[in-house]
Structure formats: structure tokens, C-alpha cells
């Protein structure tokens, strides 16, 4: 009897232990299937939700931008704006002409030297001749006096004013900004510059514009100190391109983009190289990873 009881008891205990083991295994399987099945579903949902949040934020940002009290410049199809597009050298050359003959009367470009344009839009000889037309203050000489001499390639573009105060005094208190970084230094970049240059209108009825101010639809507050500078045929292009107002504005904007970023073409080339590297090597590294892990991934592990 005792033996039977003991055997029953041990059977009972064994079955209990077995059921506990089963329960544990079941739980482990549950966790594992949760991770395998629902885990993917969950991460998919999570990615979708965070993606949706990002997209919503983007559209919120766009509508918030539209609610501001200024007119944003429309996007224009710049020839150089594509990821693999370069600046138009002929346009830079024409744009420099516009800057030299029109903008340079009030705006400095203190970070650009004559040498910078050599090999970009002009030959060395052409640029030497242009530089020589400028009068650069140099010195002091042996007598301690400053003197003027013809410009050289190494000289920076001469500023129209000696200092900011003189510039303000000559422009009714408004300071004409330096143009070296103007394209990168404004929201809207080229689109803004082009729209500003071509955005002069008569003030609408009821809008009062102060003396020495001008109405420009794209300028914040609409009253700008700068008078309209570009008109049809204001200069004559050496290559015979018709010098319409929009052509002048486009060319000078391309020139200013180059001035803000002389490395524009080179950096896109580097980006393209990175893209090529990615296309060639990422799949190779991915394959290598898969190959190294293939033995591990196809291994079956059983807990007994």
C-alpha cells in the first residue's frame, strides 16, 4: 500500500512538475511568438506612427509658415538646383557683370577676391584686366601715407563705402548688406533674391510708403530702402544675351549663389561619390553580414 501510495504520489508530483515545465515552455513560446509575430507588427505600427507624426509636423510647419505675415517667394526651377546639377558658368560671368555695373555702387562683397573668378567664369588675363580697373587703397608707403594703386588678382572686391556709418549716411539710414553670403543668409535663398529684385510694384491703395522707401511685395514689411535697380536693357551683355529684367535678376542671383558657395559643384560631386559608394558597398556589406550570420540564423536551439 505504502509503495502504491508513494508511486502515486511520485506520479502526481512528476505530472505536476511536467505541467509546470509545460507551463514554462508555453510561456517562453508565448514570449517568443509575441516577439516574432506581434513584435514585427508592433515595430511596423511604431514606424508608421512616428512617420505619420513627422509628416504631420512637416505639414503643420508648412501651414504655420503660410500663416506668417509675409509673402514667401515661389520656388523657381533653377538650373543648378538638382542634386547633380552644376552652376552655369556663362550665367556667373553675366551675373558678375551685373554686380560690377549695378550692385557694386552700394553693396560690398568683402570676402570675394578677383582671383576667385579665375577659372570659374573668366580667364586669368581677363580678370587681371578687370582688377586693374579698380583703385585699391594700399600702404602705408615710405612716407607713412596711404596710396591708391590699380587692383591685382589677390585683391578683394573694393567696398563702395569705407565703413557702415558712411554707407548708412549715403542711403538714408539703410545699410546695404554685404553680398558675399547673401544667398545663404536669407530664407528662400535664390528664390527670395530673384523675387525681391523683380518684386517692385506701386503701393496698393491705402498703403502709405515713407519718403525714400519703395514698395516691394517680397520684403518683410513691404517697405524697402533699396530702389528698383534692374530694368530691361540697363546694361549690355557681351555675349549678346537679351538683358531683360528677369534675365539680369537671374544671372546676378546665380553669381551670388556661386559667391556664397564657390565649392558648390565640387560638393555635389562628393555627394555623388558618396552615393556611388553606397550603391556599390552597402549591398556588399549587407551580403557579407548575411553570409557570416547564416550559420547562426539557421541554427535551431531547443530547451529540454
Amino acid at each position: 500500500l505504502g509503495n502504491t501510495m508513494l508511486s502515486n504520489y511520485s506520479k502526481h508530483a512528476t505530472s505536476k512538475l511536467l505541467s509546470l515545465r509545460q507551463l514554462q515552455t508555453a510561456r517562453k513560446q508565448k514570449i517568443s511568438s509575441f516577439v516574432k509575430g506581434k513584435g514585427k507588427l508592433l515595430s511596423g505600427t511604431a514606424v508608421a506612427v512616428v512617420g505619420a507624426a513627422t509628416v504631420t509636423t512637416y505639414f503643420l510647419h508648412q501651414s504655420a509658415k503660410a500663416s506668417e505675415d509675409e509673402l514667401h517667394a515661389p520656388h523657381l526651377p533653377w538650373q543648378h538646383s538638382g542634386a547633380l546639377k552644376t552652376l552655369d558658368a556663362a550665367s556667373i560671368r553675366r551675373g558678375y557683370e551685373v554686380y560690377r555695373q549695378v550692385c557694386a555702387a552700394c553693396h560690398s562683397m568683402e570676402y570675394i577676391a578677383f582671383r576667385n573668378l579665375v577659372g570659374v567664369s573668366h580667364t586669368e588675363d581677363e580678370m587681371k584686366a578687370i582688377a586693374a580697373q579698380a583703385q585699391i587703397v594700399d600702404g602705408p608707403d615710405d612716407n607713412g601715407k596711404m596710396f591708391k594703386r590699380p587692383g591685382r588678382l589677390s585683391d578683394y572686391f573694393p567696398s563702395p563705402y569705407t565703413n557702415d556709418e558712411e554707407a548708412r549716411a549715403a542711403n538714408n539710414g539703410a545699410l546695404p548688406p554685404d553680398l558675399s553670403y547673401i544667398v545663404l543668409g536669407v530664407h528662400g535663398e535664390e528664390d527670395y533674391i530673384f523675387s525681391l529684385l523683380t518684386g517692385y510694384y506701386d503701393p496698393p491703395a491705402g498703403v502709405v510708403i515713407g519718403e525714400d522707401q519703395h514698395y516691394n511685395a517680397y520684403f518683410a514689411g513691404q517697405a524697402i530702402g533699396m530702389a528698383q535697380a534692374l530694368y530691361n536693357e540697363i546694361i549690355e551683355y557681351e555675349d549678346g544675351t537679351p538683358a531683360t529684367q528677369s534675365q539680369l535678376a537671374k544671372d546676378v542671383t546665380v553669381f551670388l549663389r556661386w559667391a556664397a558657395e564657390p565649392h558648390h559643384d565640387k560638393r555635389k560631386l562628393y555627394g555623388f561619390r558618396a552615393l556611388c559608394f553606397a550603391i556599390m558597398f552597402v549591398p556588399l556589406f549587407w551580403y557579407q553580414k548575411k553570409r557570416v550570420f547564416s550559420v547562426i540564423k539557421s541554427k535551431k536551439i531547443a530547451f529540454k
Binding site: 576667385n116 556664397a260 558597398f281 557570416v292
Partner: protein, 361 residues
Amino acid sequence: MLRNNPLINLFIGSFYRLPAPININYFWNGGSTIGVFLVIQIVSGLFLSMHYTSHMQMSFFSVNHIMRDVNGGWLLRYMHANGASFFLGLIFLHIGRNVYYKTYYRKGAWIIGILLLVVSMLTAFLGYVLPWGQMSFWGATVITNLITAVPVYGEAIVKWLWGGFSVENPTLNRFYTFHFLFPFVIVALSVVHLFFIHMLGSSTPLGTFSNTMKLDFWPYYGVKDIFGFSIIISSFMMLVGFSPDLFGDPENFKKANSMVTPVHIKPEWYFLFAYAILRCIPNKKLGVFGLVFSILVFFFFLFSKKKLMSSLFYRLIFWSWSMNFIMLTWLGGCPVKDVFIYMAQISSFIYFFFLLILMLI
């Protein structure tokens, strides 16, 4: 024989024969990728420092000189500026991964990790001041003025920090010194961080620990890390090549002018969540407290209990918190208008409240 050399043995133990869990996923690539960006930052920074001048009259010009005249200077500078974005972005992902998989119970690594975040953010802020553009100058003015919220000694501390009565030449000079010095602190802390991790071995997505379910670091995770680097570095170089000013501000292309305040002063994107919290609290002292606490709050995860796996509810809260983090980042860059301030107040509440829930469950 090599194993007898303690230094080589340490290297072998850390990168070659390191036993790594069998089941870690791509989120475990984060740490090594951050390490790669730390190296990129230090090397590019070292070369930039050879051409940079830390003087308020010359720094803007010297950065311009780097961009235009130094051979490959523009590449170095764009890599350095965008590298900071990648570095901080990857740190955010890294911390997010630890919260998601509840691996913050490794106290040493967690404390050092949060310290690393703080020092990295400080270094990034100091670096942003160096080009001495409008946003550099005004950003420095706004952020250093936050210290005036310290009771009694605030004003004195700020003047001592500035080395004058406003942000000026001594400030720029010392910021440059500390910007040069801090990366080495980051390296030292990273070594301690690695030490704490390698003491026990990596955590796993399941939260379990096993001495047997391990793989050698090389070739398995070495190859996996290289695959991760190839993706991140190509996207980084594509950003540098195709849109290097994506995260920059146009204001910083203007030379600093203490007489002209920009209309919207905002920091780089990685500070915007904290900046939104600061701006939406109408009381200055509380706002500064909110800003500091938004980062230090992560220390409190140390007190949360270790659990095997995160529940579905935990994950839902985590992803809602992440969405809210993106929202706060966006709000930090919005102009100061009632609607954005109101939204930021709600978002800031959710930021702290959901973190509290994550700590408790």
C-alpha cells in the same frame, strides 16, 4: 603570445574575442556608430583648429577663410557641423533604445551615458558659438543668461563665465578652449562607459542574460557594425554633399552684431526640445529648471525596477513619447506665438508625465 601583453589583451577582449549576446538587433549598432562619429569630429576638428582664430574680430573671417581658401576646408567644416547633428541624433536613438528595451538598470553605464549626453550637448553648444555669426552670438547670449536664474550668485557667475559684462572676446576665447578640451573628456567617459558595458556584456532585446548564448564579437558583430557604418557614413556624406546647410540657420551667415538682434533666436535642432520647454514656461526660474530637468530626468530611470520585457502598454507610451519628442522639437523652432506656446505647454507636460509612467511600469 599576444594574450600575454595586457594592452593587446584588453584590445582583443574589447573588439575581437568579446562575448556578445546572440540576439541583439540593429539598435545595438548605435554605440559603435557614435564612436565613429566621435572620431570624425575629433579628427576634422583638429584640422579646423589649425586654421581657426578665436578672436571676435577675426573668427568669422577665419571660418570664411577655411570655407574658401583652405584646401578641402569647406568639406572639413561641413563634416564637422553636420557630424555634430549625426552624433547627437545617434545619441538620442541610443538612449531611446535603452528606454524601449528597459536596459537602463545597468546603473554605471546609464549614469556615464547621461553624463556623456550632457557633455556632448555642452560641447555642441560651445562649438556653435565659434563661427561668431549672428545666431552664434545671440545663442550664446540667451543660453549663458539662463545662469542668472541661479539664486543670489547667478549674476556673478554669468559675468565670471563671460569674462566681461556681455558675451565678448574673452567669452569666445574660453569657449574655444573648452570646445577643444571637452571631446577628450567625452573620450575618457566613453572608455568608462565601455568598461561598465563590457564588465557584464551587452544587454539584449529580451532583457535576459545568458552566459552561453554568446557569439564572438569578430566576425559576427564586427561585420554587422561595418555594415551599419557603411549606411550611416554614406548618408552623412550625401548630406554633406547635397544639402550641407539643411540643419543650419541663414542668420549664421551674417557676422555677429551686438546691436542687431535676430527676429527668431533658435538653437540647432538637437536643443529644440529643451528650448521649447524653456520657452513655454512663463516663469524664468521654472523655465530654466524645466530645461535642465528635461535632460537630468533620465537619471531617475535608475530607480525604476528591472523587468524582463516591456509590456504592450509600455511600448505604446514609449512611442507616444517619441512622437511628442518630435513635436517638441518642431515647436522649439516655431516663432513665439500663443498657439505654439500653448501647444508646447501640453507637449512639455506629456514629455515629463510619460517619462514618469515609463519609470513606474
